[in-house]
């Protein structure tokens, strides 16, 4: 299990923001924190480091997410 602390930068446009948040809430790998203006703290739990990296790419490609910042990654439970 890999635990990643991420910060997503959301598009300020309200419609796009709602859509993005809905989509993220539906993703079991993610735990969403309290949004600070346009930044959303997120914890991602993935089965492996590689899966975490893939998720990183996936998030960055979502329309309405402007940026993904990686804050910290815990590899201690990596297989």
């Amino acid at each position: 299990m890999t635990v990643s602390a991420l910060v997503l930068t959301l598009d300020p446009e309200p419609v796009s923001r709602t859509r993005v948040l809905e989509r993220l809430r539906g993703d079991a790998r993610l735990c969403l924190g309290d949004r600070v203006l346009d930044r959303l703290p997120v914890v991602a739990m993935t089965t492996s480091c590689a899966a975490g990296d893939a998720l990183f790419g996936e998030l960055g490609a979502i329309e309405g997410i402007l940026k993904v910042d990686v804050v910290a990654v815990d590899f201690s439970e990596d297989v």
Partner: protein, 801 residues
């Protein structure tokens, strides 16, 4: 808690902390971890105050994305940790409940929300359709990068020169005074003079209310046991008068006679500083029509012209006793005293504004009270960046950045080179000055009203133009006239607009201001603007890009690149016209460092942007030293401090006469264009009060300030009130030949006008005194006179509610 939950909690804490930092610091492009520390969750950072031209630094306390506290900045030389009541409450100006948060378009007479894309398209369409009729009306509250972008857009892009700022209404006469006397704008002295002067002479100036920090800087010297003599030359008693050794009340406009009377006594008694005059000065007389250069004159001609200004005659004109005029002349005649003169709107908002500015400089030069710490003629400004954005960036209809002018082919060439424009892009004909611009906007096209669109940023002309019912109101009824307003609150101007653009203000954006003492001050964005409000500078760049995309040739430089090319560290262009990308890079820094290249021509050198990040402002010229540090200049033209003065103790290196000398002018006293008569028997003066700033659009939304001064009033002498039969609080009609306003009477009021004169402050949008004022202006500076016109005061008809 199992290990996984613990990891998750820790990760969330880390992510949340980072989200806070990223969101509140503005952008992740900023180098991490080097912002100011947070104390109890409050992060403090520096910014110059949003309000007046003093240029105090405040510390802004931010928590949870909001400003929660303000403190004076101990490290700031201007205010040394102290503020005035407006400064302490400046943070509240962001949080009025009626902030504008969406672009609004007038449809069928109603302002309705539209998207930013639509709004930018509409603005661009107006400029694209008729570039020559598209004008920008800007402000001394613009940041330097905002003003620079607007100036470049109009002069380098639309090639029309149709840009002028509200500062035309507040300090244009100070500019023409400096230009005609020294050949280059802005004061030679600085606030350090106030710490050293033995005598401070205030010419129609009320700094106790208008520049409180400078005033307390002077009078607090007394509390420390120092002696400083304050003399108040004024047309009404003010709060300043209470602290002064002498208060000399003069009749409106007679400051010209007083200045000549002092010069006359200096010359006749032989107490003028002959050595100083011989070495550093030339004499000048007026031409007809008047010009900034004038005609050569001699000491003898000057002496003869002054001959008629005997103390007795000046007493007749001004009402100031001859003995007091002699007292003033004796002070100037003493070499052992240091004398500083201060002035602001009293001398500038004057139909002979250039003349009175020249005369006061002249007294200081004639008596040698110039160029030593404490010896200075110093004009103060009313807006936070009237000097930085208007005078230095040149957002005036005739000017280019750095003190250059459009009429000079060499200057145009320099600008075209810096902007990489094809030769001939910049036009040589100045655009319309403020009064003319609005007159043409309020005149139908077929009658010569060739301005059809005005884009107003950061100011409120519906309330601040003189004679507003003639200059502003007609445009709102004429077909084909389109008013665009970028503002933060629904001001009177915004509510009259066709298109309203919601703006970010103060610490909601990056910025740079330039204050009254040549000090350039930088700050960073600390909080996000509300709703969809966006930076004024972004608005300008987005419109420029839209015009570029529409194919307007002026939006490209001579290599076909976009006029406002902003790049990242790798040199790749960043599409900052897309709001989401605007803070990917520091646009302010790139515009400022480009603008900097203009500042060397007139020895107004600025340091690179990064230097101002570290400082609480620096006074130009800021010159790089051998060791790579940057050194500011406190006393201009003085060899002991100014690196460009090398030949003599004082060197006026931009001298009009090309011989390093300053000019002593003679101007006669001339009566004002309108004087009280039988029909309109009283003088009207207008101005500010301590609690409010400009037209009150920000300060009237701050409860502490609004409660202390909730509404305008007409200040009257007790005997005038008795003669009229009105009591305190009674609402009366103040009217001139141009318009009228109904205001409550306050006998004596905050100040005390002499009999036969009244005072009304202009901060109250609901009681627009500028429907009453006169739009006559100075022939050189084009600055109108808000300080004197003829009015009558009437009781309202019986039965009026």
């Amino acid at each position: 808690m199992d290990r996984r939950d613990f990891l998750k909690t820790t990760a969330m804490a880390a992510a949340t902390a980072a989200a806070y930092r990223l969101a509140l610091d503005g952008d992740s492009a900023a180098a991490p971890g080097d912002g100011p520390p947070a104390i109890d969750g409050v992060r403090w950072d520096k910014a110059p105050c949003r309000f007046c031209g003093t240029g105090c630094h405040v510390q802004v306390g931010v928590r949870g994305g909001k400003v929660v506290a303000i403190a004076g900045d101990d490290k700031a030389e201007v205010n040394k940790g102290l503020l005035c009541v407006k400064g302490y409450h400046v943070g509240l100006a962001l949080y009025g409940k009626d902030r504008l948060t969406r672009p609004l378009l007038r449809r069928n007479g109603k302002l309705e929300p539209i998207s930013w894309d639509q709004a930018i398209e509409i603005v661009a369409e107006r400029a694209f359709g008729n570039p020559a009729g598209f004008a920008i009306y800007g402000s001394g509250q613009w940041t330097i990068p905002e003003g620079y972008a607007a100036n470049k857009l109009i002069k380098g892009g639309l090639a029309s020169n149709q840009i002028d700022p509200n500062a035309r209404l507040c300090m244009a006469s100070a500019v023409t005074g400096f230009l005609s006397t020294y050949g280059v704008d802005e004061p030679a002295g600085c606030y350090d003079d106030l710490d050293r002067a033995d005598v401070v002479l205030m010419w129609g100036n009320n700094p106790a209310e208008m520049h409180p920090i400078l005033f307390s800087r002077i009078i607090d010297r007394r509390a420390r046991g120092e002696t400083v003599r304050l003399i108040d030359l004024t047309t009404r008693r003010t709060r300043t008068s209470g602290f002064c050794d002498r208060t000399l009340i003069f009749k409106p406009q007679s400051d010209l006679a007083i200045a000549n009377g002092i010069a006359h006594l200096l010359v006749e008694s032989g107490t003028y500083d002959r050595a100083f005059v011989d070495q550093f000065c030339n004499f000048r007389k007026r031409t007809d029509p008047p010009s900034l250069q004038g005609d050569a004159s001699t000491f003898e001609e000057y002496r003869q012209a002054l001959a008629e200004y005997t103390p007795e005659k000046v007493e007749d004109i001004s009402g100031v006793p001859a003995a007091d005029l002699r007292m003033l002349a004796e002070l100037f005649g003493r070499r052992d005293l240091r004398i500083t003169s201060l002035w602001c709107m009293g001398m500038n908002q004057h139909t002979r504004g250039t003349a009175i500015n020249d005369l006061v400089h002249g007294i200081h030069l004639l008596s040698g009270h110039f160029g030593k710490p404490g010896d200075a003629p110093t004009s103060l400004t009313g807006q936070p960046s009237a000097c930085g954005t208007v005078r230095e960036v040149g957002t005036l209809a005739h000017a280019l950045p750095g003190g250059l002018v459009v009429a000079n082919p060499e200057h145009r060439k320099e600008a075209e080179e810096i902007w990489n424009l094809p030769a001939g892009r910049i036009k040589d004909k100045p655009g319309y000055h403020t009064v003319e611009m609005w007159k043409r906007f309020s005149t139908a096209a077929e009658q010569g009203g060739d301005i059809d669109t005005i884009w107003v940023q950061v100011t409120n002309p519906a309330r601040t133009l003189p004679n507003a019912s003639a200059l502003f109101d007609p445009s709102r009824r004429l077909p084909g006239k389109f008013l665009i307003v970028s503002d933060v609150y629904p001001t009177a101007t915004a509510m009259a607009a066709d298109l309203v653009l919601p703006s970010a203000m103060w610490v909601e954006k990056n910025g740079v201001f330039g204050n009254s003492e040549r000090r350039t001050q930088q700050w960073f964005r600390m909080v996000q603007p509300p709703g969809e409000a966006r930076d004024d500078c972004w608005q300008l760049l987005a419109v420029a890009r839209k015009l570029h995309d529409k194919g307007l040739p002026g939006m490209k430089d001579k290599d076909g690149k976009f006029l406002f090319r902003i790049v990242d560290d790798a040199g790749q262009e960043v599409p900052v016209w897309d709001w989401r990308r605007y803070y990917d890079v520091n646009v302010d820094q790139q515009l400022f460092d480009e603008y900097r290249r203009f500042t060397r021509f007139k020895h107004k050198d600025l340091a690179p942007y990064a230097e101002y990040v570290k400082a609480r402002g620096m006074r130009w010229p800021v010159v790089e030293q051998a060791d790579g540090t940057w050194r500011e200049t406190r006393f201009r033209f003085a060899r002991f401090d100014d690196p460009y003065a090398t030949k003599a103790d004082l060197q006026f290196y931009h001298s009009v006469t090309k011989d390093d000398r300053a000019l002593i002018w003679f101007h006669p006293y001339e009566p004002p264009p309108e004087v009280p008569d039988a029909g309109y028997p009283m003088w009207l003066c207008t101005g500010r009060v301590l609690e409010h700033w400009h037209s009150g659009t920000m300060t009237m939304r701050v409860p502490q300030l609004q409660r202390a001064m909730p509404q305008a009033y007409v200040e009257m002498h007790r005997d005038d009130a008795a003669a009229l039969g009105v009591a305190d609080g009674e609402v009366v009609i103040v009217e001139s030949r141009r318009g009228k306003v109904e205001v409550p009477v306050w006998i004596d009021g905050r100040g005390q006008p002499p009999r036969g004169s009244v005072f009304v402050p202009f901060f109250d949008e609901t009681l627009p005194i500028n429907q009453v004022t006169l739009d006559a202006f100075d022939p050189l500076s084009k600055q109108p006179d808000y300080k004197k016109c003829a009015v009558r005061v009437r009781r309202r008809p019986v039965g009026t509610p």
